[in-house]
């Protein structure tokens, strides 16, 4: 009967909503705790009043104390993540296109190289890469964080598959018109890949943003740390100041959430594409 179906649907929505609250609960807890008075942090779930004390403390460090460079770390994170992601996208597009569309002598070899790299757990390279960074003088620089992580095999894989699905005729036509490879990529291929590029960008960005191990290894100087690493370092010593820890977590998390929600439409479109 129509009535019971409506009821079923309504209940389903309630369920979906409850599940949603559970899923985002940690974020809610994070932001509420960052705004809670210090006696209530981790004591009450919903604070009775709100205060900016945790944020203040984070940036000014309280009485007579030198604060940690949270904002600087935030910008470090943005710079490093953005640079890495852009480089990853650029290389993936170029290599993916080469593999998908260009017939050249080494293409089978390249294909195999990439496949091999994909299945090779990166952990073996950890120590030698660290040593390369150390011996080449890149230690404690942005280069150390960006360069070794400038390539994403997953992205190459995705783009290769995607480009394969672009009809060759389009490319031939452009070539007829005298377009060079880069022009073809820029004028034809890229506009077609808006959705998938958004997805890849979002995934790469997010994965790079939350990286801990590598950024922790190659940088020592406090001013160069990414926000994620700085937060991890403060886990112990600031443990007694949970309010500011939550404030720093919000600084780390919410920009990504907001970025993501802004692009959620593209994300949805892209996912449709990727998953089918």
């Amino acid at each position: 009967m129509a009535g019971s179906k409506k009821l079923k649907t309504a209940l389903l929505y309630v369920l979906a909503f409850v599940v949603l609250i559970i899923m985002v609960f940690p974020y809610l807890y994070m932001i509420l705790s960052s705004l809670a008075p210090w006696e209530q942090v981790d004591r009450k779930i919903i604070p009775t009043k709100l205060t900016l004390r945790s944020y203040e403390w984070l940036f000014t460090g309280g009485d007579g104390v030198v604060p940690r460079p949270w904002l600087r770390a935030f910008f470090n994170s943005i710079f490093v993540t953005l640079s890495s992601t852009v480089l990853m996208l650029v290389t993936a597009i170029l290599v993916g296109y080469s593999l998908a569309k260009l017939k050249f002598k080494g293409s089978r070899f390249l294909n195999n190289v990439i496949l091999f790299q994909m299945f090779y757990p990166a952990v073996i390279l950890l120590i030698p890469l660290f040593l390369i960074v150390r011996y080449s003088g890149m230690y404690d620089t942005y280069w150390a964080m960006i360069l070794p992580k400038a390539v994403s095999l997953w992205a190459i894989f995705m783009y290769t598959n995607f480009f394969r699905s672009i009809p060759d005729e389009l490319i031939e036509a452009a070539k007829m018109d005298g377009a060079g490879q880069l022009t073809i990529i820029a004028r034809i291929v890229l506009p077609m890949s808006k959705s998938i590029t958004t997805i890849i960008f979002l995934f790469l960005f997010m994965e790079r943003w939350v990286e801990l191990l590598w950024d922790m290894l190659v940088v020592n100087n406090e001013k160069m740390l990414t926000l994620n690493v700085l937060l991890a370092q403060m886990f112990g010593p600031y443990g007694a100041y949970p309010g500011p820890m939550y404030a720093a977590s919000v600084l780390l998390t919410f920009p990504i959430l907001i970025l993501f929600i802004i692009f959620s439409k593209n994300f949805k479109e892209g996912m449709q594409f990727v998953l089918k």
Partner: protein, 281 residues
């Protein structure tokens, strides 16, 4: 056009790879100016090392906890989204949000929620007289981390299941209905088998994930208690960067890679066999 990539690969992949293989046979300790080739000693030491063995078993322990939970969870999420007539997009995005969290930030929240005087523990103590040592128990600690990771990945895997669900042709359901399969029966005998490709992908992804766990145990438990959350990456990090045993650490990394590779291979074979038996190629 791809040659810069090849150059990059040589510098950042091939060269370090060779160096790693060389390092694994030395006893270098990152500071000392001299070191020796020690043959297989690093590997033998690793084989007998309590912490390396712990890392080996801990991975499978996490797997046992994480994989079923995350598959069940993400399947449920996918089913919920799939059954909603409207607002699918909203909930897909919403359930995906946990994936964006940094392990460090989630650890802070978990630490806070599980701290001694938190509302959760106070509730347990006053209502049930239970004082649960969440992160101090060798069984609960890994479970907590497994749950944290499941929370993070559920929304992501749900999308994979969702696309699988949405691609099941309506005709199959109609045919099943004619045969009298509805509700649970339909779910187990029609939907689930049709989701095989999604199950395959999610399982392999989930399993592969287990070999690279680092951030959560590093921040939350430091590998304890009693090595119960001591993962491969943690062991490598400890050996190479805290104790400065670069040679030994690299040997462990190699062992880790081999184990990972082999395990995933086994899983794939098993899954493919199962799929073949039920009609999938």
């Amino acid at each position: 056009m791809a040659s810069p990539y090849l150059i990059y690969s040589i510098i950042f992949f091939l060269f370090p790879l060779c160096w790693a293989i060389y390092l694994a046979f030395t006893n270098w300790n990152l500071i000392a100016p001299d070191y020796e080739m020690v043959g297989l000693q690093n590997f033998i030491e690793a084989f007998f090392s309590k912490s390396v063995r712990a890392a080996f078993w801990v991975t499978y322990k996490f797997m046992l906890m994480f994989v079923p939970i995350v598959i069940a969870g993400s399947l449920c999420l996918a089913l919920i989204i799939h059954s909603l007539p409207k607002l699918k997009g909203l909930f897909s995005v919403g359930y995906f949000l946990p994936y964006l969290a940094s392990g460090v930030a989630s650890a802070i929240v978990v630490n806070g929620v599980l701290s001694y005087n938190s509302p959760l523990n106070t509730f347990f103590r006053h209502s049930f007289g239970l004082d649960i040592d969440w992160l101090g128990s060798p069984i609960l600690a890994p479970l907590i981390i497994a749950l944290m990771m499941a929370w993070k990945f559920m929304g992501y895997y749900a999308l994979l299941f969702l696309s699988g669900l949405e691609s099941i042709p309506k005709e199959i359901y109609e045919a099943a209905e004619i045969d009298g399969a509805v509700g649970w029966k339909r779910f187990w005998h029609v939907t689930v088998p049709m989701l095989y490709p999604s199950f395959y992908t999610v399982t392999i992804l989930a399993v592969g994930l287990m070999f690279g766990i680092f951030t959560e145990p590093y921040v939350l438990t430091g590998g304890g208690p009693d090595y119960s959350t001591h993962t491969w990456q943690l062991e490598i990090y400890n050996q190479a960067f805290e104790k400065l045993n670069a040679g030994y650490g690299t040997a462990i990394a190699i062992i880790n890679s081999v184990v990972t590779f082999a395990s995933i291979l086994v899983f794939r074979k098993v899954l493919e066999k199962w799929g073949a038996r039920h009609g999938w190629e």
